[in-house]
Amino acid sequence: MDAKPAQFHLPPLPYAYHALEPHISRQIMELHHTKHHQTYITNLNAALQTQATAMSTSDLATQISLRAAITFNGGGHINHSLFWLNMAPASSPDTKTSSAPTLTEAIIRKWGGEKEFKDAFSKALLGIQGSGWGWLVKQEGAKESSLTIVITKDQDPVVGAGQVPVLGIDMWEHAYYLQYLNGKAAYVENIWNVINWKVAEERYLGAQADAFKVLKASM
């Protein structure tokens, strides 16, 4: 008899599809959420079902062969779930860095200033060769100097021991192409207008498990 793994579901956005305009268009947000994110979830659930069957029959080869699909689709689900919460309408007070006093202080200590941090993050994003993400990552239990900018390829998630993904930016072309075409530098420049610093502060003050709560909620 097959074991039935938990099924993941698409988490609702905490704002309307058009709410990030003009920085990210409604069309992009709707496709990105209802199509791209949903496809990762659909494929993740299928891979987890196959894995459950393989585990119940002690089929080790199949279990190992599923790793790439689980990393890719599970990573896609994790990354997008975190990403939606990293953004807010530009009119919201949450998009001001004053909503993240502790994190901002740590950023200034590490990079010298908010602008210097944004410049370094933007440069890292524009240096990605192919599809991937840029993350601001905190190491749990370490001092605030542990803040680092991390680039991950494709849908590799930030899930290392004690790593807290504070802020993530999607650099797949589907995240900006319909609006910005090949002008990805403009996308990177504009997305700072819709970053939810309140959420970044909460993640910075919390543990890895706190950041990943959104995933449990979508099961």
Partner: protein
């Protein structure tokens, strides 16, 4: 990138380094470098000629903006590489390799890709003939089966990348291989036919429905270009 490809290929003109008029002074040592620059090749058809499979807007952006950025960025990296070589700075040379691979690969891949496509009025979609057709039948049973397996390979790319029909230079056999990002087909394998699976290659027309792009692109595949590369 092998010299053989340059000599043997009809893409010689496109990928050939053109002599550059200006040379760059190399700072303190005062040596000058004169080297060829990669240039954006012209398309052998109009931007709109592949419609409806690929829109004119996609072709124009893809050629004039994306490919051109690879050309410019490759030239910048190659310039830095020449300086590092003249200074015998091995660390700097190694640090530049990812940029050479990415932008140089982007230039190679797109140059081959444009040749791989043709409007139906210029043979696009017309099945291969001769030795390549026989190799496809021997290896895959039929052209349809090859397309099916090729599309499965394209759909399985996790991120940006390409799928290629390649020829093993050691055995002469053909195979379908996928490559990440702009990694070019070099070394043991010879590129015959490549399909770009980066989102910028289809997103304006097909959005997330990439399977539709993979299906439609065969209507404008120029098998004659693949036949010329096949040895």
């Amino acid at each position: 990138m092998s010299a053989t490809l340059l000599r043997a290929s009809t893409l010689r003109a496109a990928l050939r380094a053109a002599p550059v008029a200006s040379s760059k002074r190399a700072g303190l040592v005062g040596a000058t470098f004169v080297r060829g620059k990669a240039t954006l090749p012209d398309l052998p058809y109009d931007y709109g000629a592949l419609e409806p499979a690929i829109s004119g807007k996609i072709m124009e952006l893809h050629h004039k903006m994306h490919h051109n950025t690879y050309v410019n960025s490759y030239n910048q990296a190659a310039e830095k590489m020449a300086e590092a070589q003249s200074k015998e700075d091995i660390k700097a040379q190694i640090a530049l390799l990812p940029l050479i691979n990415f932008h140089g690969g982007g230039h190679i891949n797109h140059t081959l890709f444009w040749e791989n496509l043709a409007p139906t009025s210029q043979g696009g979609g017309k099945p291969p003939s001769g030795a390549l057709a026989k190799a496809i039948d021997d290896g895959y049973g039929s052209l349809d089966t090859l397309k099916e397996k090729f599309n499965t390979a394209l759909a399985g790319i996790q991120g940006s990348g390409w799928a290629w029909l390649v020829q093993d230079t050691q055995t002469g056999k053909i195979a379908i291989k996928t490559y990440a990002n702009q990694d070019p087909v070099v070394g043991q394998f010879r590129p015959l036919l490549g399909i770009d699976a980066w989102e910028h290659a289809y997103y304006l027309d097909y959005q997330n429905r990439k399977a539709e792009y993979f299906k439609a692109v065969w209507n404008v595949v120029n098998w004659k270009a693949a036949e010329k590369r096949f040895q």
